[in-house]
Chain length 225, copies 2
Amino acid sequence: MDAAPDTDAIIIGAGPAGLFAAFQLGLFGFQSAMIDTLAGAGGQCRALYADKPVFDVPGFPRIDAGEFVERLLIQVEPFTPVFLFNRKAVSIRRDGSRGLTVTTSGDEELRSKVVIIAAGGGAFRAGVAAPNNLALDAMPFQSWSLPAVDGAIPVDSATFLTGVPGIFAIGDACDYPGKVRLIVSGCHEAALMAQAVRKMLRPGGRAPLYASTSPTLRRRLGVEE
Amino acid sequence: MDAAPDTDAIIIGAGPAGLFAAFQLGLFGFQSAMIDTLAGAGGQCRALYADKPVFDVPGFPRIDAGEFVERLLIQVEPFTPVFLFNRKAVSIRRDGSRGLTVTTSGDEELRSKVVIIAAGGGAFRAGVAAPNNLALDAMPFQSWSLPAVDGAIPVDSATFLTGVPGIFAIGDACDYPGKVRLIVSGCHEAALMAQAVRKMLRPGGRAPLYASTSPTLRRRLGVEE
């Protein structure tokens, strides 16, 4: 198998929640690699309704899902996530103190400190007819030793940790009391997950929250003035 | 005192969380009235950093806080919330089965089925110097019989209900495990609160979730095609 460079976080699923997760992790100085079965970023927004308008993303009275994904890609750009498209994550295993290793259908092994499952595919389960070129396999939660209920993984809604240490779930992949499958919720979940990852990987470290006022965050974003 | 027309929801605080709450409640067919101490909508985004850029709202790599508020105002427009500016909410009382009555410093009494507290003012507590024309009083949580810890009200993060039936809290006004004071979180909280209000006021009713696919939601939004 190919050796792959270590990264802080492996994000499985490059839809809106996954992209915003890479952004939030980037704000805290963490590098992400993203794995997706599709040929590009966007998840359901790309595969099922790229040219369909969405009306309930805050600040966008109406936006095509595909355009929203493009804007998220621009937003995450300063943090240069590594994208691995046309691949499935086929296994996750723990390597002692070295962290987690994800094996892809592209025969790569990626090592990381944390894994974030952001591949929901709820729309597929809801019976939406999908183009032939989509990989419709459900996420192999069982082979990852993750308990899934109705296709979603129960998480702690304070941290978005699954029952497995180091493995988080956000977006349509996760479930918790009150969960609603909205883009805004997936992004909120990404933000709280990133806080939990920061506390886990950098305990006791300083934690600026707002790029508006933090020179550190602005530097990471590449904002000059 | 003036009599005021009944409304479904009274939202105290017209910042981003409050505005998105009026939007989400509107999607479910509920009418909102909004009370704010300031002379216009936007909360902290208006009062403290209207011309400051924000970098962490999903889909906006960089946006001035004031412009984001303008976009939220356009988004909520189809649901025609009633704005009551330059007023404080001075009391909330329960009128038996008639719901809740909020009294304002403008000597109005507003009756509603639910009250949503979306007035955080966290920045004030953080010691930011504020212009002289701002009402800096802390929210009178105590006189409303709401327990506040460190200036925020503990809520159930599945429903955003406070300990008092019919009274919800979102945005910087609320606290729950994992809470981070982000715009995206305030909007997520607004969305889940609206679900809980719908279940409370219209139990057993149908619940379309996505305006992209629901004719009912599109009609309410005034979307033609």
